[in-house]
Symmetry: C3
Subunit: 346 residues, 3 copies
């Protein structure tokens, strides 16, 4: 992909200052940009970089007043951040998610249906009786089990594995290697100490605009559904157990694990490597910091939790501040003990 | 799949109370069931739900005496839990694990052998000189390396990756994306600070009735075998390093990591996100709580460990209870110090 | 594979003591070896095993003086460890990484180029405009996106997924199921509490001799590159977020997570299940112990960190030693309080 500065300015309804015939072949941050790059300046804090950037062109505000000469060409627009984001989205679509058509060999059972304007990469697999919407992008090596439903505009990256019966909404993104609908970890202990597998016959439901990270795993419900609600964002290598319910627009960062039947409210933020025990309920807008271990339900909205086991963030910070000074506390205690109990006379 | 209440009663040798001609198309918990669902009542605690359930039919004990009228049809059997579990297993088999035959294109080297009554999904791959049993279910996109042995009745879910030389027993389950036999993390430091890779030529052995979770990783031994013994259950995203030995009927929950050459006994329970250092030995029936970090061997059977670093559960609970009150302890200490050393007079 | 003791001695320029016509079909540790095995003795500590080993043959030093009779045949060489390692490497190459040729069906876009002497397994996928070197081993089910560059001698294990634009150096190893180049977890909060996805248009660069573990995930940069520098070794199930920079010959053990834009120096060691916050800088030769949570940058070289939150290893060990005795500290404090404030008289 290569465009001239002038072509990009035209698309953005901007005006060019400097040479409009130069070639642009990538987008870059203003402080890292090199020749051939287009960058942008939105935050005034970054203005000094404008005078030293290696970018071939920079998108700036129509109202920006220059304090020094600029080597890069300028594209002046009303809102540089919005214009640049539009370019980012265009670029990503052009290079990655805009694929259409079918690459052979691809497998789709005759009983399944898929909407118009889709991409099915080579070696992608669609089982029996699936209903898949329009504008769906199915990268190579995606596996879709029987009776799966997928809404319009959803993107499944390479090697995403969707077990039978899963329901996925519109405009979802499932990244490479993610597994949706694996069996919950349910085993009934037997008298001899061995375990009998409890059949897991529920499914997973992803509502609209859900994002699932690479190699994340989401188990199906024992019965009923494991549910990820509208707009929730799940990061890489997250584990979500059977019958969990994740609220709307809740964010779960990488490597966090959520145990069976736990229900997380809307607008929550669960940081990385946190762990939640099973059968808990977390109120809306709960925040859990990284590496915390949550063992109790939270009924009040807006609580911050930290620690393993987790408690209120403020108390946790104070306790941790003292933890590292434990040897000092112990020394002070010893001094007091010596004062209280003078050494016996010889 | 749709059956009438009467057909299901017949299979279960039960008797129908109410309309036997109604259609059943799914199984559900009694408190969540809607029209079309079949549920069950085994635990007396749930009896109140019987009188309000939306289920079309409920499996109950022959001896149950009704206290109120029931809208659902009843199927009376000797043991409702066992009957319902049988239906769950039948359902899972019918919808998921009962597949048979070969979907093309599937790849199997001419030198490999596989038993009768198997399923090989499209794009599944079987390398050279493999010996695979009967009734094996190989979902699409499974990769089986050279010289792998797999016992009868084992199920490999989509995208499971089995490295060369792996040995898998009978009636094992490997979930989607699990990797069995990747190289151990073995690197010899060189004088210049770089690392030389130590070739890993051992393998992984899964004995009978082992279950491996989605996207779990089990490294091969440097030499010899990494061994998961009979009936052990390994959850999603667990990491098991080279030369580890997991005992019979031991359970390892999600996201736990076990370092190289550690040996875990039989009937142990390792909860989620725990970490075990290398070269340890844990006695039979050891329990490790979630997020614990175990750095020492345990010789006595039946020990409970908690914390990072982990020690006995009881001591850990008491220490944690005080940890959150550290600011209070410090305040008490300060008061005593003030009493012991009155402020100097001006 | 089967060789005689004599054949192996010839390859190693060694001399045989005992029967050279016996068959060898595997390599094993001296303390575990059984009939048919070849083992080695380098560390004098293991010499007692020489007199009891079940190995058919053992590689020993030319200068070793026997103290007892040995049942195994001996192959005497100058340096037993180096000779044995050479055999290990030969064995791994012969059984695993020495594959060449193309298994059909394999997919490679007509616009892509690959060097001589390569292996492309069945169902492997190579997108548009890729440039792939010579002697590259691409196992079945590898997915390589568009415009990817891969250097000579690199090995991609089954189901490794390389997103578009990734750059991989020479002699790298990417293990099964690893995902290189998935989208960074970047979402801009909106006024209504929902999130808008920030397009991630950067890539991942792996320099030469990098190793990536099974099911690890490495996100692409928002813009620019997520970089893993020369000789770095990344273990299974590690999460590396967008724009992270991992230094030369740095080792990151299993299940560790590194948040966005963090820069780790050269020759660092990050143990398992550790977590690093975003936008940190760690100096060269920093060591982070297992399960630690690092929240601050480290400017000084050679620091050891432990704990969550992490601080200096020595202080951490002392604080942890007292942590488990908190109940005892509290008891001592209570005694002092009682002494300082005698019970009121009735």
């Amino acid at each position: 992909m290569e465009f001239t500065v002038g072509q990009i300015a035209e698309v953005l309804h901007g005006t060019v200052e400097g040479r409009g015939d130069q070639q642009i072949n990538r987008l870059a941050k203003i402080e890292e940009a090199q020749a051939g790059s287009l960058s942008f300046l939105a935050n005034p804090k970054y203005e000094p970089h404008l005078y030293s950037t290696g970018a071939t062109a920079v998108i700036v505000s129509r109202t920006l007043e220059l304090r020094q000469p600029v080597a890069a060409a300028l594209i002046r627009v009303d809102d540089p951040y919005t214009s640049f984001t539009a370019l980012l989205e265009f670029y990503q679509q052009a290079t990655r998610t805009g694929k259409r058509g079918v690459e052979e060999p691809a497998y789709m059972a005759a009983s399944s249906r898929i909407g118009d304007n889709h991409y099915r990469g080579a070696f992608s697999y669609i089982g029996e009786n699936c209903e898949i919407g329009a504008d769906v992008v199915i990268f190579p090596h995606v596996v879709i089990g029987d009776r799966v439903k997928i809404g319009d505009g959803t993107i499944l990256y390479p090697g995403a594995k969707i077990y039978a019966e899963t329901v996925i909404g519109r405009h979802c993104v499932v990244h490479a290697g993610a597994v949706i609908g694996s069996d919950g970890f349910g085993f009934a202990p037997q008298p001899d100490g061995s375990y009998r597998t409890i059949p897991q016959i529920g499914n997973v439901v992803l509502q609209d605009n859900v994002s699932i990270g690479a190699n994340a795993t989401i188990d199906c419900a024992t019965m009923g559904a494991t549910t990820i609600r509208e707009g929730a964002k799940i990061d890489n290598l997250v584990q979500i157990a059977h019958n969990v319910d994740i609220g709307r627009h809740t964010v779960v960062a990488a490597q966090t694990g959520i145990s069976g039947s736990t229900k997380i409210g809307d607008f929550c933020v669960i940081a990385g490597q946190a762990g939640l025990a099973g059968h808990l309920t977390l109120a809306n807008r709960t925040t859990v910091t990284a590496q915390s271990g949550v063992g109790k339900s939270i009924k009040e909205e807006g609580v911050f939790l930290q620690g393993s086991p987790a408690f209120g963030l403020r108390d946790s910070l104070r306790a941790n501040a003292l933890f590292r000074h434990l040897p000092d506390l112990e020394r002070r205690l010893r001094l007091l003990e010596q004062k209280a109990q003078p050494p016996e006379k010889p």
